[in-house]
Amino acid sequence: MIAIIDYGAGNLRSVAKAIAGLGYEARVTSSPDEVLNADAVILPGVGAAGDTMNSLEALGMADPIRQVVAQNRPFFGVCLGLQVLFGNSEEGGGQRCLDLIPGMVRRLPPHLKVPHMGWNQVSQRMAHPLFEGIPDGANFYFVHSYYADPEEKAIIAGETEYGVSFPSVIIKGNLVATQFHPEKSGDLGLKMYHNFLKFGLGGRYGGHPRHRP
């Protein structure tokens, strides 16, 4: 079962439908136990870092997320779900986050239109099964006002330009996080979820896609 963490914000339906359509059992859940018992965990993200952190703490979800990541179990953070993995965010005058990846979340440069909204290219910085069948420089759908700046540059698997070059894909073992929304990025987004589940689950639990991954 693939757990999609529900902390009361945003459009989880698209994530769940994308995963289910790839042939996996998707469960939208706010239960820490379900997250701990899942084969893979997806932390979707829409909204503000402060609200998200408060909701995750209130649900008792912060520790299960830490455990899943510490055990190197398959985990996918999307958009704000990438940002909250870092130490601190500049959002809302400074917000403490989960601190699973050393680094800061910074505001996009002020001379540009913010949010960075729309389709932009992801330049692949490493060869990885996550990118199987996905061309270098392919477009993905972004909506965000902040970006992550990791201390350890080796985890940057993809980068995107918007006034600044920022990490749009992070890979660290079985932890994957994207600043864009794969569930809103058409066929290539679905392909990325498919690749993640394929390598993350090591073929233990094969998907039978209904979509065109």
């Binding site: 914000a9 945003g10 459009n11 339906r13 698209s14 439908k17 994308a18 359509g21 829409v46 909204g47 503000a48 239109k113 913010v114 949010p115 960075h116 909204m117 729309g118 389709w119 932009n120 290219q121 477009n139 759908y141 972004f142 909506v143 965000h144 006002s145 330009e161 918007y162 569930e183 809103k184 990025s185 058409g186 066929d187 987004g189 679905l190 979509h211």
Partner: protein, 265 residues
């Protein structure tokens, strides 16, 4: 580089897409799911659904449409038409929409923009502005009112009701309250297929720091190009040229790419 978006707009009433859709490739040109999937395959960057019935019964039907579309189409969906409060927004977003468009309700109660943005994030809130060029100078009282130098007036209720509000002032106010994007329709140009109101589009786009979607007037591919280059629009919305099959979205994107505009192909 961030690409310029092409967003087809679909008018929906009673769960069906209306307004001259003529695709021979489709089994049923009025089925929102089939049309959405068609535009997705064609390379549409986002889909905009506009509920043109906008009664409370229609809301439930629209939610069902959004649910069905979002099960099969994995690109951003914006839904507007008759949304009056945060609860209306929540239901549409839970149905699978990524953004909600508000127009009349935002003019009547600008705090709705702030409430929606606080609750769902700025990126969810698209303020739609219907603007009409003034024929003569009008001076009214009020911070957003038409005055010397005003060029465009905001209309509500599907373009039926003048408000006395200056479109440029309203655009800035909407963004200050938390709008993440503006959907700007020129009522003068809409439906005429003679090109977007480039002066209006540029004035608003330069005045705000959020993306502006130009709407109203597209008749040729050059019009799309002009809206982006001269009007400085971040996205272009079009209905007729795509629905009637005059041009495909792919043709539009290939044309823009040849002219040096970054698009997703």
């Amino acid at each position: 580089m961030l690409t310029k978006r092409i967003n087809p707009c679909l008018d929906v009433t009673e769960g069906r897409v209306v307004k001259g859709v003529s695709f021979v490739q489709l089994r049923d040109a009025g089925d929102p799911v089939e049309l959405a999937a068609f535009y997705d395959r064609e390379g549409a960057d986002e889909l905009v659904f506009l509920d043109i019935t906008a009664s409370s019964d229609a809301r439930d039907i629209m939610i069902d449409v959004v649910k069905r579309v979002s099960e099969q189409v994995f690109i951003p969906l914006t839904v507007g038409g008759g949304l009056r409060n945060v609860e209306d927004m929540r239901r549409i977003l839970e149905g699978g929409a990524d953004k909600v468009g508000i127009n009349t309700a935002a003019v009547q109660n600008p705090e709705l923009i702030r409430e929606g943005a606080t609750k769902f994030g700025n990126q969810c809130i698209v303020v739609a502005i219907d603007a009409k060029r003034l024929e003569k100078e009008v001076s009214l009282e009020g911070p957003l009112a038409l005055g010397p130098g005003s060029k465009w007036e905001v209309y509500t209720h599907g373009g039926r009701k003048p408000t006395g509000i200056d479109a440029l002032k309203w655009a800035k106010q909407a963004v200050a309250l938390g709008a993440g994007e503006l959907l700007l329709t020129s009522m003068d140009a809409d439906g005429h297929q003679t090109g977007y109101d480039l002066e209006l589009t540029r004035a608003i786009s330069e005045a705000v720091k959020v993306p502006v979607i130009a709407s109203g007037g597209a008749g040729t591919l050059e019009h799309l190009y002009e809206a982006i280059v001269i009007g400085k629009a971040d996205a272009v919305l079009a209905a007729s040229i795509f629905h009637y099959g005059t041009y495909s979205i792919r043709q539009a994107k290939e044309y823009l790419a040849r002219k040096g505009i970054a698009v997703r192909l």
